[in-house]
Symmetry: C2
Subunit: 418 residues, 2 copies
């Protein structure tokens, strides 16, 4: 506690690097359990098993075009000037059979997706033919196999279809369905408790009292948790009362995978979180060399990870994106810990920087030009200013010991999720 | 019907351009109704009103740092070599008041977010001071206003915060919450009925019969509908039986905003959809100059839009992204009709192209290098091959009358949603 007293007097004297903070945290993150669910409702879930195809797709040789199935030899040399003729002897429908024995100079009407009848080795498109009664005139020459999808052409039986750890989108659900996977294994959503602390906070729906502000942190953090694949099991606002926070912490670690507090993590006189954490859980990091977000505290108790994020909304948001979101996704077994898309863009003005030694998070807006994407800096400072987030499209992380950015420089932007 | 007979014989002879198809469709799209919901549960909904701030944010002048509130004049010329001294006369907590009358050479301990006490005009950071008993030594000189957030500095009362038509993310919910908006107006999710047609389709969970395939289109399309903000109110698979499809159509237009069929839209003998549509609804377009996806049919009945997408999954997927998704978002009043992010990338090999006159949809995978993003073509043809979607990150739309792509060329990629 002497250390905390000192902190309150002199502030953070030594900060952990962002890299080290992530490394320390990583060794305490455990996977959530595996559950089996219907493929059709698996949107956005994280696959917990490698998927290997049990069938050939397509499962049989089929027509890739509407037309006539016939022998390629009967089309050889056919052209507009030198048409060939064959006889229509039947048709085969999608999903149906044809037990016709096809001979030379015969053809069978076939629809896209129907099984190729025995004796045929190619399909001539309807556009390349003309029919009068049962005589079909062919205007083009085809090689064997033309307009036919071979059995297993898309996916041969035994091929790995999907890797564990991917996030399932509509197209993955289609692939799983076409391969006959009714159910699949996914990881359970991490259970997350979300608390905002602070005597200054008023809950939405109540009148705003003097010197107080509306709580925006729990709605923001809870919705970020959902966006990142977690499940919010508890959400509330707490006063700066040690006993209340402590009781909440004890209750939360019983059934949560992650507990998040915002506010009270710095060195103010009512910043109770560091004291409570140091007394009751193992503190991994307190004070990280990043801006905004330096007062972040990360701890753990058994396998439950506890994040104390700053109360200023932008710092809480960036702290979430940097630490909490990736922790949720690591628990889910995601291949891609950070789901944000990264793009390069050209920065349109100088961004001078004085706070060396910190990773600085520059919020930028992107604009598309004819052949480039440009990044317009919105704001580097002002961690309370939520509109700096809603006006931005993403963040440029400026590494420590880099003296800002120069106009015209190419920067890597981590785009906010859309 | 003569026209359809002809179609079955000769295929599509004249196709509508993609641009014209969108233009025709646009005039029949109507907004859904407006509903009021709790801000906290508005994630991903589309805002249906402009939001103007009713309060100043911050609502009062407050400290931006932990430190001491005092008069700037008492810090003038202070430095490490020439420290100044002031007397601690009290403290003000976050969310609390101080009715102390501060005088010259006095200071009040203040936490980030606490209201600035009367008489103070600056805040000195705790790191720039030392305290022994009630005497504070100041090591730096400050201008008035330093480390203070002015009332309304983030958002002045009366400022427009958010525009109608945006999609609400966690940061928008935070902004709305901090501004005291308990409820907001959003547009109702369009109600969508989703049907796959085809005698060849087997429902997931059943054994695969010869010459049949598992239905992957309803799970794919339904999950795309959800991803784009619609609500799936009905979903099933239909046989190629005219009466059954017709009855389904009649029932669906009673309570849907959008009805989607996949399969049976082309010129095969069991392609019943065009006939049914021509007989029962107003057909806006049938046959569009795009690949894959050319047999798409779009119709309307009163204000209900009907899409008949090809049965091949990739063509259905691309048809959805091109027409259905944007229709859902137009009904929702979205500013951005197509939610996909666009990035530029360098294509790593030639993509020759023969089908002139069509918009070709090239699926590409992206890879990040040290200073560029490169696009690896996955596949241009093969509209049944779902793995060409799961292996890609997005689509390059190659305009009609452009002869493919040259290695090293910069291309614009529409990224799949993540």
């Amino acid at each position: 506690m002497i250390q905390l007293e000192r902190l309150r007097k002199i502030g953070f004297s030594k900060l952990t690097s962002l890299e080290d903070a992530i490394k320390k945290l990583d060794s305490y993150i455990k996977f959530t359990s595996i559950e089996e669910i219907q493929t059709s409702i698996a949107l956005n879930r994280i696959l917990a098993e490698d998927i290997v195809s049990q069938i050939d797709i397509p499962p049989f040789e089929r027509a890739a075009m509407d037309g006539y199935a016939l022998r390629a030899t009967d089309t050889f040399d056919a052209s507009l000037k030198n048409p060939k003729k064959v006889k229509l002897v039947g048709k085969v429908e999608v999903g149906g059979f044809s037990d016709l024995e096809m001979d030379e100079r015969e053809a069978i009407r076939i629809s896209t997706g129907a099984a190729i009848p025995k004796g045929a080795d190619t399909v001539i498109k309807i556009e390349d033919t003309n029919i009068i009664d049962d005589i079909i005139t062919l205007y083009t020459s085809l090689v064997p196999g033309k307009n036919i999808s071979k059995k297993g052409e898309d996916i041969p039986k035994g091929k790995k279809l999907l890797n564990r750890g991917i996030q399932l989108k509509a197209e993955h659900i289609a692939l799983l369905s076409s391969s006959g996977f009714t159910k699949i294994k996914v990881r359970a959503r991490p259970k997350v408790s979300v608390y905002a602390t602070g005597d200054e906070l008023i809950e939405l729906g109540n009148p705003l009292e003097p010197n107080k502000i509306y709580n925006s942190n729990t709605p923001m953090i809870s919705n970020l948790v959902k966006t990142y694949g977690g499940s919010v099991i508890r959400e509330s606002t707490l006063k700066d009362i040690k006993e209340e926070i402590l009781e909440t912490l004890f209750n939360s670690v019983k059934d949560s995978n992650i507990v998040i507090f915002t506010g009270g993590t710095s060195v103010g006189t009512k910043d109770l979180l560091p004291e409570i954490m140091h007394e009751n859980v193992t503190v991994l990091t307190h004070g990280i060399a990043m801006r905004p977000g330096s007062p972040i505290l990360i701890g753990h108790k058994d396998n439950i990870i506890i994040f104390c994020l700053p109360g200023t909304p932008v710092a809480a948001y960036i702290g979430f994106l940097t630490f909490v979101g990736p922790t949720i996704r690591k628990m889910l077994g995601c291949i891609k810990h950070d789901p944000r898309r990264e793009i390069y863009a050209t920065i349109i003005k100088d961004v001078p920087l004085s706070s060396m030694g910190y990773v600085n998070h520059l919020r930028v807006k992107i604009e598309k030009t004819d052949n480039d994407i440009i990044a317009v800096p919105i704001r580097l400072k002002g961690s309370g200013i939520i509109s700096s987030l809603t006006e931005s499209d993403g963040i440029v992380e400026i590494p420590p010991y880099q003296e800002g950015l120069k106009k015209g420089e190419k920067v890597l932007i981590k785009l906010f999720l859309n």
